[in-house]
Symmetry: C2
Subunit: 388 residues, 2 copies
């Protein structure tokens, strides 16, 4: 079955060879989908005959969002903690550990139902590829089950046993690193594509992070790093040195950090939802882009510091606060995320790519920034299947 | 037909006599709707028998949003202008006058279709009361038709002939004020409840604003004022002096302005979408609240400076940027908007109020700030009718 999408508004291909500017924008274009992939892209007037047609009525088509950083295997929420923080009140609960306790106490079915709900919520907002980390189990069994549950929903699963030191190892962080690089890794590697570590004061230092990422790489997991979120530190340069696919957060960067990102293949993944929801300063996307680094935008969806699943919201905030143009932000939320996941089959609308498509209820992709907060999903296809 | 809404999460009544805190929060509550109004509110265990029941499954119920400031009778959009502004490029188009030209050129049917689309878009996001201004016609006939078209959708219609000086009067602003207070007012007053003026450098000064508001008041229209948006000025104190229902924007306030708002009955309506979309400094809601002023939040939805229709987005930004607690922001977007429109039948869930209700896809109203950008509408009732 072949399907022609025609009468499109702005078409974002993310292929500069195919259209204008960074986004490879094509006007008066049409797209043919066949066998779950893009079979043809070009001027509507030259479109081939197909089995079916879809009239886009002038609405904009872009690649489905690629959300390369999310923490969706968890139970409970942290409404009271958020409310206290934003109300200027003291709150002495346990942060991540609150979620660890709730997640450990949940059944597999509860965790799967919660994850399914968030994946579907993201899909309704145009996210067709989503990464999913462990990190709220922090035992061998709980980390492994988190990844097993996640792997049923996405191939982009990330082993984050090194989210924080497990409470049982509060007095023995070295022992916890041994666990994360040993028995826990053995149990988790079969279910994961990536290995990640939260490299930060109060979590894991540079030496610990290096040990964890290196051990994961030896098991075939590709590194990615929570780096330089709350303070300056070694995370970004370690990520580049180890050939990580992405350094995530990048909020506090020295000139050397920026140079490292600009010269290597490591994507700078920025997560404005976290700064929005913690009233923290935003990362400087403009500085990274001007230096030549590749930038991705992702949600960081998690119940503590960034409980948004909206890539459109991240695009709007990145334009408002981080010096990105609307085109740059849309690119970062699609092609940037794909690069952060080392995927060439998503994040673009080119022949042979997966037919993961977001039709906006707007004539232009610019409306993602121009109409902040407004749900603009008109239709979503994933692998050529109409999802809504 | 009586309907019981039961198994509610947090219930926002906005009646401190009925529950805890500013929002009059009730836990384990139920609500009965009958003949389009609220017939009963109380503990679920004590609920009376009804014809039908709705199981809210633990989700939060609040009054439908009251958006007391929107500009929805227009044609065209200003994507290119927004894109240039956010991309740091020069753009020499005409601002409001671009929209005036497109609006004048549109047919009645086109304007009505556009307005219908935006009212429905807002409704899907939980807005059950929406104000609508003229101001993109700027001729006697075009202003009157804008209000006639708006009046078919909402009783909250505002005559804003004094949005900017019409291009035909560029060299004769006094002549335009004569028109706005004379023939245009005669044509518009039958279709409007409110009279408004953009009191700002480059629009109308304090004397002109006073003349326009006073003339409108003599025709039975109640004043509201676009005040102190781009610079300090006389708008806020004029609004309070004339007993305006609301002073809108309030971005640049002196201590005397704050005192005036705190001592009078004029609501300070803050419009964070405008600051978000123009990268302008936000108004200081905290200062106003601490002084004792009543604050409302609204979208300012218009194609130039704030093209959001999302009250939830405004709540989230107000919490992030304007020093409001989640409770204060939710109050401002419901009860605050109602007060800015001098309505006692909306913005609250109390016996006798209209059954304008928003059920969130979340257990707590706090999620409107906690989950920024995520569409959280689970159901909406307007006058007791299920709208979605």
């Amino acid at each position: 079955m072949s399907l022609l999408l025609t009468n499109l508004g702005s078409l974002v291909t993310n292929d500069p060879a195919q259209g204008s500017g960074l986004l490879g924008l094509v006007q008066d274009a049409a797209v043919v989908v066949e066998n779950g992939t893009i079979a043809w892209v070009g001027a509507a007037a030259a479109a081939p005959a197909t089995d079916e047609q879809f009239d886009a009525e002038g609405r904009s088509l872009l690649p489905g969002f690629v959300d390369s950083h999310a923490h969706l295997v968890f139970a409970g929420d942290r409404t009271a903690e958020f409310n206290a923080r934003m109300s200027g009140q003291a709150y002495t609960a346990g942060g991540i550990r609150t979620t660890v306790a709730a997640t450990r106490a949940a059944t597999d079915a509860e965790l799967d139902a919660n994850l399914t709900r968030f994946v579907n919520e993201a899909l309704r907002q145009g996210t067709t590829t989503i990464e999913c980390k462990s990190g709220y189990g922090l035992t061998v069994a709980d980390e492994a089950r988190a990844l097993r549950i996640a792997a049923a929903h996405t191939p982009e699963t990330t082993y984050l046993g090194a989210h924080v030191v497990a409470p049982e190892y509060a007095d023995d962080p070295a022992g916890y690193v041994d666990l994360v690089t040993g028995e826990m890794l053995d149990a988790c590697a079969p279910h994961a594509r990536w290995v990640d570590v939260f490299c930060e004061n109060g979590a894991f230092d540079g030496d610990q992070a290096r040990a964890i990422l290196t051990a994961g790489a030896k098991r075939g997991l590709i590194p990615r790093v929570h780096a330089n979120q709350l303070s300056y530190g070694p995370g970004v340069q370690l990520a580049v040195e180890l050939g990580a696919a992405s350094a995530d957060h990048c909020t506090h960067l020295t000139d050397a950090d920026v140079s490292a990102l600009a010269s290597g293949d490591t994507v700078a993944t920025l997560l404005p939802g976290a700064e929005f929801s913690t009233r923290a300063p935003y990362p400087d996307a403009r500085r990274l882009l001007d230096a030549g680094a590749t930038v991705a935008l992702s949600t960081d969806c998690n119940p503590g510091s960034s409980f948004t699943s909206s890539m459109a919201f991240c695009v709007a905030v990145a334009v408002r606060e981080m010096g990105m143009t609307p085109d740059e932000a849309v690119h970062a939320a699609t092609a940037g995320g794909a690069q952060a996941l080392r995927r060439t089959d998503v994040g673009r609308i080119t022949v042979g790519a997966r037919a993961d498509l977001l039709l906006l209820d707007a004539p232009s992709h610019v409306h993602l920034a121009y109409r902040p907060g407004v749900p603009l999903t008109a239709a979503v296809w994933r692998g050529g299947q109409r999802e809504l």
